[in-house]
Symmetry: D3
Subunit: 136 residues, 6 copies
C-alpha cells in the first residue's frame, strides 16, 4: 500500500479531480493509475508532476513511442519495479512490440555493462569527444 494511501476520484478535491480529468482526457483512458492517486495527497506535486510529464512526453522532434522507450530504459536501469511495469504498459500502448522491447532491453543491458567497464578501467575521455560540435 502506498505510504499515504490512494486518493480515489470520488474522494478527491476539485483541484485533484481537475488533474485526474486532464490525465484521462490526455491519455484517452477512463482510469487513473496508482502513481497519481498516491501523489494526490500533495496536490501541488501532483499538478506540477503531471504538467511536466504532459509537456515532456508530448510528441516533439521525438515521437511518443521513442519517448516511452527512453522512459522505460531509465526505469530498467534504476530497477524501479513500479516504473518498469507502468512504462512497459505505456510503451506498448504507444506501439512497442515484443520485438522492440527485446531490442530495447538488449541495449539497456549492454549500456549498463560498458558503463562499468569504462569507469572501472578509468578510461579518459577522448579529445575528439570533448570537442565534437553540435548539430542543428
Amino acid at each position: 500500500m502506498a505510504t499515504l494511501g490512494l486518493v480515489e476520484y470520488a474522494d478527491a478535491s476539485p483541484e485533484v479531480r481537475a488533474v485526474y480529468d486532464d490525465i484521462m482526457t490526455t491519455r484517452q483512458t477512463d482510469w487513473i493509475n496508482n502513481f497519481w492517486k498516491a501523489l494526490a495527497h500533495d496536490p501541488a506535486t501532483l499538478r506540477r508532476t503531471w504538467q511536466s510529464v504532459k509537456e515532456i512526453m508530448a510528441p516533439g522532434v521525438l515521437d511518443a513511442l521513442t519517448k516511452e522507450m527512453i522512459y522505460l530504459a531509465v526505469s530498467a536501469t534504476n530497477q524501479c519495479a513500479y516504473c518498469i511495469a507502468s512504462h512497459t504498459a505505456g510503451a506498448r500502448k504507444a506501439g512497442m512490440t515484443d520485438r522492440m522491447l527485446a531490442e530495447l532491453m538488449a541495449v539497456v543491458g549492454m549500456a549498463n555493462e560498458t558503463n562499468r567497464l569504462a569507469s572501472g578501467y578509468q578510461v579518459e575521455i577522448d579529445e575528439r569527444f570533448v570537442h565534437s560540435g553540435s548539430r542543428r
Copy 2:
C-alpha cells in the same frame, strides 16, 4: 590515464588488430576511441564486448539513432562521464540534433524524478499493469 594504459594499433597483437579493423570498418571511421584501447589488454573481453555491441547496435526493428539515444539515456542515468561523452558523439553521428538531445534529456530527467517518487511513496503496481498482455 586508463588503469592499464591504452593499446595503440601499432603495438597491438594480430587478434586485437582484427577487432580494431572491424570497428573501423563497421563504423566507417579511421580511428579507435580509448574505450577499446583500454579493453585491448584483455583481448577476450575486447572481442566479446565488440561483438555484442556490434550485434546489439545494428539496426533492427529499432533504428541506429533510437538505439544510440537509449544508450545515452542509460549513461546519463548512471552518470558515467566517459559514456555520456562517447555516446553523445555517437548519437550525433547517427543523426541526433540539438533539439533531439534536449528532448531526450528532458525525458531522462523526468523519468529519474518519477522513479523516486514512485518508490519513495511505496506505490503498489496496478493490477492492470501486471496483466497487460504482449503485443506482436
Copy 3:
C-alpha cells in the same frame, strides 16, 4: 524470508541479546525489526552496525528528525524498499508529518532529475563552486 533467516530474542546468544537490549532501550520500544534479526547471524556486523547507527543518528547539530529524513531521502534515491518502509516509520516516530513527507519527496525527486540533467549535459563545475570556502 531473509537469506539466513531471522534470529529471535529467545534464540539469541548473550552477545546478540545485549545489542537487542540496547536497541530497545535507545529507541524506547519493545520490539526489534527484521533488519537487526537478519544481521544477528553475524554478531560482529550486528554490533558494529548498531554502534555506528546509534552514534550517527543521535541528535547533534542536526536533530533526530532531520537525520531520519536524510536517511529516507537516500533510501528513496536508492529505491531500497525495506529501507524506505523502515525509515518512513522512523521519521514519523521522530515527528515527520504527511506534509513534511510530501516536501521531502518533492526535493528528492527534483534532485534526482537535475542530477541527470547536469551530468547528461556535461556541465562543468563553476569556478566559484570550486573555491567556495568553508563556514564554521
Copy 4:
C-alpha cells in the same frame, strides 16, 4: 565544456533572460551558474526546471537549509560531481556549517551501507512498517 556550450546573458533571448533575471532575484545574487546556462539551449526545459526548483525549494514546513541538505544527500548518493559542488555551496549559503556537513555526510554514508545490507540479506518488510498509519 557543456555539451551544447553555455548561453551567456548577453547572448540570451528575452525568454531566457527572463528566467535568468528571476533566478538572480530569487537567489539575491548577481550571477548564473553553469547548469542554467547549459539548459538555456532548451528554453522550455530551462523555464520548467527553474519553476519546479523555485517552487520546491521555497521554505514550507521544511526550511530552506533542510531542503538544501536533502538535495546534497541525494547528490552525494548519486555521486553527481557537479551537483555535489553546487549544492554544497547552496547549503552553505543557507547556513550549513562544517559540523552540519560532517553529520550530513555521516548519515548519507551510513544509509548507503545499510541499504545494501537490507537488500543483500533479502530482509522482508516488517508487518508493523506496512501498516504504520500517517501522521497529520
Copy 5:
C-alpha cells in the same frame, strides 16, 4: 510474471532448447531458472547472454566462487532482488558458507558507505593512485 511470460522447455524452439541444454550441462543441473526462460522470447539475446556468462564465469585466474561472490556484490549494490536471490544460490552452490556471505556483505556495505563519503567530500584522487603501475 515476467513481461513476456516464460518459455518452458516443452514449448521452446530448437535454437532455445540448444541453449537450455547447454545451461543444464554446464551447470550440472536439471532445471532452468526463470531468467533464461524470460530471455528466451529473444533467442539472440538468450544465446549471446548465456555465451558471455558461460565464458566470463568459467574459472580463470579467479575461481568460480570468487566470481560468484563478485556477481552477488554487484547485485546487492544495485539492489536487484532477482539477482541477489539467484546469485546467493549460485554462490552457495560454488561453496559460499554463511560466514563467507556475512563477510561479503560487510565489505559491500562498507564500500557503499565510503563511496559516498569520498564523493560527498569531493576528495581528489591522490597523485600516487594516478601513477600506480600495473602488476603482471
Copy 6:
C-alpha cells in the same frame, strides 16, 4: 580540492594523529591518502570509519585480496572515481595482477548487464531460490 580541505599530519590533533598512525602501521606504509585527510575534519567519523574498515578488511574466511576485489567491484558499479583509483591500488598491493583485474571487470560488467535484464523483464524469483537453505 576536498570540500573542507585536507588535514596534514603536521597540523593534525592528537586524536587524528592516533588514527593516522594506526592506518600507517596497519597498512605498513608511510603515507595517508586523501580520503582520510578529508575525513579528519570530523574526527568521530574518521575514527569510526577507520575502525570499521580495519575490522572488515582484515583477513577472515575471505582473504585480503578477495575483499579488495569486492570493494573494487562495488566502486566500479557505483562509478566512484576516487574509490576505483584507490581500491585498484589497494587490490594490486594485495596481489591483484592485470589478468585478475580483467576477469574482475568482466564479471562486474556482466552482472550490471544481467541485473537490468532481470529487472527490465520483470522476472519473478524462482521458488527454488526462495527456499534455498544456508550452508555452514
